[in-house]
Structure formats: structure tokens, C-alpha cells
């Protein structure tokens, strides 16, 4: 089983200490949701875990190897990353966008047969095969999100890290995307780490919750253990009611904590 871990991560952005010696470990085959108030350092942590940001101190280890010691292409083959606010600059077909996921594999000869098969597999996995020839700039938000996930899957990475992948989707498409992430972890054995804002969605999607406040881990565990009213009051300053729901927890924010 692949393993991704952070030890003593410290990151300073300007005058602000964004991560203050953060430790965390992630297992493949699970979905982990990173939660926390705005400015808690979720995106910074995710970028460090993906090997895209060098922490001021501490290290991220991928299977006991420093992730920054890997060559960029080698790292890219193992860790797929979906940036926040995805940008798609040109009106290309979905298949071409998905094909970008093969970038770390492409040699001087261009796309091989194997690359083409991986692209088709990724599109099937993300359920976007029917969109293959569509112009990505004309897709709906839900369709575009799935195409971008397929892009990250085309490299067949052991790890998929996504920064707020469900933001901007309607509830139906949020559930579809959440189901896709769960399938990628549970059926395909990938490690999936997503940052989220929606607590109920996180509880339904994730096997584990990592709740961050001010660059430190406040709670880390299965949703039922990590998302308690006491934790939510301390993290977000809100009173919340947590009840078992149909698929996971129902988290009702009652109001600002008094």
C-alpha cells in the first residue's frame, strides 16, 4: 500500500505562518478530506503534499522517499493534482485536455498506443467518454469537473490530490463527483485527498477527515470521530448539530457559537 506522509511541515507566506509544524499521514485506498476555516492552510498543505511547494521546514515523504527528491516527471506519474479554480485557456476537445494527463509519459515521438488506451480508460472511469469530442469551453460545470478529473486520471497516478474539486457544482453533480472519488479510492486502490468546505459532503465523501485550524491539525479520524459539535465549535466558531444521516452524517449549522 502506498503511503504519503507529512512531517513537521512549516510554511511561511509573507508575515503569516501558514503551516506550523504539521504532521499527517495518508493511506492509499481511502478518501481523506482536508477541512478547515478559510486561511487554515488547506491549499498550502495540499500543494506541499503534491510536491509543488517546498516547505520552509519538514518534509513530505511518498513511500519513504522525500517527494522533492523525485524528478518532476517521476513525481507527476505518481501524484495527480487538480488545482483550485481550474483554468482552461483554449477551446480544445475534451479528449485533448484529458490527454494532457499523459504529459509525464510522453517521449519525443508523441502519444503512443499505450497513451491512447490510458486516455480512453481515464475517460471511461470518469464517465466522460461521450464528451470526448466536445469543446471543453462549452461544457457545463459538472461535465468540465469530470473531464478535469479524467485528465488527472490519464496518468494513472497512485495518488489523486484535488483542491476544492466540488466547489461550484450543484448538489447532484457534487454527489456524482464524490462517488467518483470514492470509487477511485475503494475500487481502484488510489489514495485520494481533497480539500472541501462543505461539512456534510465531506462526511459523506471521506473515509477520514483532517480538520485544520491555523496551520495545525485539530482533528484527524473517521468523520464520526472528527466532526463532533465540540470540534466544530472550536474550529469554526459555530454551534452545530451532528446526527447520523442516510449516507454519513447530517451536519446542521445552528448559528454562531455564543
Amino acid at each position: 500500500m502506498s503511503r504519503l506522509s507529512a512531517q513537521g511541515l512549516r510554511v511561511r507566506l509573507g508575515a503569516r505562518q501558514v503551516l506550523q509544524g504539521l504532521d499527517a499521514a495518508f493511506e492509499a485506498g481511502q478518501v481523506t478530506a482536508i477541512l478547515g476555516p478559510n486561511g487554515a492552510g488547506k491549499s498550502t498543505l495540499l500543494a506541499c503534499l503534491a510536491g509543488l511547494r517546498r516547505p520552509d521546514a519538514g518534509a513530505v515523504r511518498l513511500d519513504d522517499q522525500d517527494i522533492l527528491a523525485l524528478a518532476p516527471r517521476a513525481r507527476a506519474r505518481r501524484v495527480g493534482f487538480l488545482p483550485q479554480t481550474p483554468e482552461i485557456a483554449w477551446a480544445v476537445e475534451a479528449r485533448i485536455l484529458v490527454g494532457l494527463g499523459r504529459t509525464p509519459f510522453i517521449g519525443a515521438r508523441g502519444l503512443s498506443q499505450e497513451d491512447a488506451q490510458a486516455i480512453e480508460r481515464a475517460m471511461a472511469s470518469a464517465n466522460v467518454t461521450a464528451l470526448a469530442d466536445r469543446d471543453v469551453t462549452t461544457l457545463s460545470g459538472g461535465e468540465r469537473a469530470r473531464v478535469l478529473i479524467a485528465r488527472a486520471l490519464a496518468g494513472d497516478p497512485a495518488w489523486l490530490l484535488a483542491d476544492e474539486p466540488l466547489t461550484g457544482l450543484d448538489p447532484g453533480h457534487q454527489l456524482d463527483a464524490a462517488d467518483l472519488f470514492r470509487r477511485l479510492a475503494h475500487e481502484e486502490g488510489r489514495g485520494v485527498i481533497v480539500t472541501l468546505h462543505d461539512l456534510s459532503l465531506a462526511a459523506r465523501l471521506a473515509d477520514r477527515i483532517l480538520l485544520m485550524v491555523d496551520g495545525e491539525v485539530l482533528a484527524n479520524g473517521p468523520p464520526a470521530e472528527a466532526l463532533t459539535p465540540a470540534v466544530l465549535a472550536s474550529a469554526y466558531g459555530v454551534d452545530a448539530r451532528v446526527e447520523p444521516g442516510r449516507d454519513g452524517l447530517l451536519i446542521d449549522i445552528l448559528g454562531r457559537a455564543r
Binding site: 495527480g80 483554468e87 494532457l100 485528465r151
Partner: protein
């Protein structure tokens, strides 16, 4: 999206380049029939091979350089308005060249002009990247281009106003307007290696430019070395555009128009646009140069002026169609 096969488009462009090159050898004040091509005793043989061949070759080289530079800059900046002419790269190259003309060094040594032009273009690309910062916002890029354009224009105007004699002024002004007239073999030999090297470097950016369509973070997550792409693009554009400006002066809009026209035919993937844009640039400059030669006017219309007359309205139309995206 249906479009013709890539091989057909590339083949078609190549046939157009060859056909226009042949026409470019034939056309002009003296129309030279094919019969004169093989007869070295015919006085028109010399017209073709000594006078027109260098001009034709330069049209192909300069067109390819500007077309590919435009496609690479658009790909890197993710901005369909990027172009060496529109963003001041050509103007800075011209400023570099004008400095050498002004100090008199350029008149004796053509390679001095070329080096200064390429240095000017390189500085321009670096300033563009620095001024626009990490953002790929169209507004900052175009504003950075306006600043460069203004700086280069002011520099050239200063050189003109301080010029030691009227002869130097007319030399500078004539050269600034961009033309392929009266170019000879040494100019081809001077520009060709730099243009080919520049285009070679730009071709290496293809995969990186493709990956950049999902943003810089996305590209880095795919293992792309962004610093390498940036330097290849900057040096490639500087060599290709700088060498072009050194031998022809400023010919604008080629790099703006060509990728835009080719996108519906070959798709918008930036890496796939590089080679077709080089071929398309050659077609456009060959055609424009034939047109200015055949225009019945007392003095030949300058190529740079003709391209500006064509490119200005095109730029305007492009801006109108993009207005919603910019706002």
C-alpha cells in the same frame, strides 16, 4: 468539432508556400516567364536568382519566424492577442538596431545590427514576462506591451531627433517601416541561422505550452519544467524575431493573424499550432510581399505598412469578438 486531417492542412500550407514562392520569383515590374529560368545568358536570369531569390527566401524565413513566434507567445501567455509586433518585441528589436545605426556601427557591420536587434527582442520578452508577473491576465499583458511599445518608440524618436545628419534619419526611417525590397544573399545568410535556431528552440516548447493550458500549477503538477519552457520561449522568440527585424525592419501582425486563422483548421492545442503557424506566416508574408510589388505606385509600398493596414482592422475585429472575455 470536425476539421480536416492535420496532414492535409500541413500539406496544403506547404503547397501554398511553394506556389507563392514561385510566383514571388516571377512577379514584379518585370514578369519573368519560366523559359528564362534555365537560361543563364538571359538577363532576366539574374533578376530571378540575384534579386528576387533572396527576397523570396527572406519572405519565407521572416514569415515563419514571426508566425511561430506569435503562436509560441500566445501559447505561453494563454492569450490570443500576443504577438511580437503587438506586444512591442519587434519595436524593441528595432530600437536595438536603430541604436547601432545611430552610432554608425551598424552601417559597417550587419551582424552588429542583428545582434543588437536580438538583444532588444530578448530584453522585451523578459520585460513582458516580468511586467505581467505570474498572472496570465490579458489586460496586464497588453498593458505591458503598450509600455514596451511606448518605450521603444520614445527611444527611436530620441535617436531620430539627435541624428547627426539627415542621411542617417532617412536611413533609419526607411528601415523602420519594414520591407523586403533590395535584400541580397548576405542578409539571407545573416538571418537564416538565427531564425532556424530560434524556431528550433520554440518547437521544443510544444509539450510545455500544451500543459500550460490548464494553468501554471497544473502544468507543474504534470512534471513540466516551467523555467525551461520560459527560457526556451524567450530565447527562441528573441532569436527568430530579432533576426527578422534586423534584416527587414518591423513587420507586424503576422504572429497575431496566422495562429488565429489556423486554430479552426488544426485545433487550439498550442503545441500543434507551432509548425502550421510557421508555414502560415510564410504564406502571409510571401503573399503580402507579392502584393506590394504588384501595387501600381510610384514608390513601392513598404511591406510593414501593408501588413499594418491589414493587421490593424484584424486586431480591431479580434478585440471586438473578445470584448466579453476581457471585461
Amino acid at each position: 468539432m470536425t476539421r480536416p486531417p492535420r496532414a492535409l492542412v500541413l500539406g496544403g500550407l506547404l503547397v501554398l508556400v511553394l506556389a507563392l514562392a514561385v510566383l514571388s520569383l516571377q512577379a514584379g515590374r518585370v514578369w519573368v516567364p519560366f523559359a528564362a529560368w534555365t537560361d543563364q545568358a538571359d538577363p532576366r536570369w539574374s533578376i530571378i536568382f540575384d534579386l528576387r531569390l533572396p527576397r523570396t527566401l527572406l519572405a519565407v524565413l521572416v514569415g515563419a519566424a514571426l508566425g511561430m513566434s506569435g503562436a509560441a507567445m500566445q501559447g505561453y501567455t494563454r492569450n490570443p492577442l500576443a504577438d511580437p509586433g503587438a506586444l512591442g518585441v519587434s519595436a524593441m528589436a528595432a530600437f536595438g538596431a536603430v541604436l547601432t545605426l545611430y552610432f554608425g556601427a551598424g552601417a559597417q557591420q550587419p551582424w552588429v545590427i542583428a545582434t543588437a536587434a536580438m538583444a532588444g527582442a530578448f530584453i522585451a520578452v523578459l520585460l513582458l514576462l516580468a511586467l505581467s508577473g505570474a498572472s496570465s491576465s490579458i489586460v496586464t499583458f497588453v498593458l505591458a506591451g503598450v509600455i514596451l511599445q511606448t518605450l521603444a518608440g520614445a527611444g527611436v524618436a530620441l535617436a531620430l531627433s539627435l541624428a547627426p545628419n539627415p542621411w542617417a534619419v532617412s536611413e533609419i526611417v526607411n528601415w523602420l517601416m519594414g520591407s523586403l525590397a533590395d535584400r541580397s544573399a548576405p542578409e539571407v545568410q545573416l538571418a537564416a541561422p538565427f531564425i532556424l535556431a530560434g524556431c528550433g528552440l520554440l518547437l521544443l516548447t510544444g509539450r510545455g505550452l500544451d500543459a500550460l493550458m490548464i494553468g501554471e500549477t497544473g502544468a507543474r503538477s504534470l512534471g513540466v519544467n516551467l523555467a525551461a519552457v520560459r527560457w526556451l520561449m524567450a530565447v527562441g522568440v528573441a532569436l527568430a524575431t530579432g533576426a527578422s527585424v534586423a534584416v527587414t525592419g518591423v513587420v507586424g501582425f503576422v504572429g497575431l493573424i496566422v495562429p488565429h486563422l489556423l486554430r479552426p483548421l488544426v485545433g487550439a492545442r498550442p503545441g500543434a499550432l507551432l509548425i502550421p503557424s510557421a508555414a502560415g506566416g510564410a504564406v502571409l508574408v510571401l503573399a503580402a510581399d507579392i502584393a506590394v510589388r504588384l501595387t501600381p505606385s510610384a514608390a513601392e509600398v513598404k511591406l510593414g505598412v501593408a501588413m499594418a493596414a491589414l493587421g490593424g482592422p484584424f486586431f480591431f475585429a479580434l478585440l471586438l469578438s473578445m470584448r466579453r472575455r476581457i471585461a
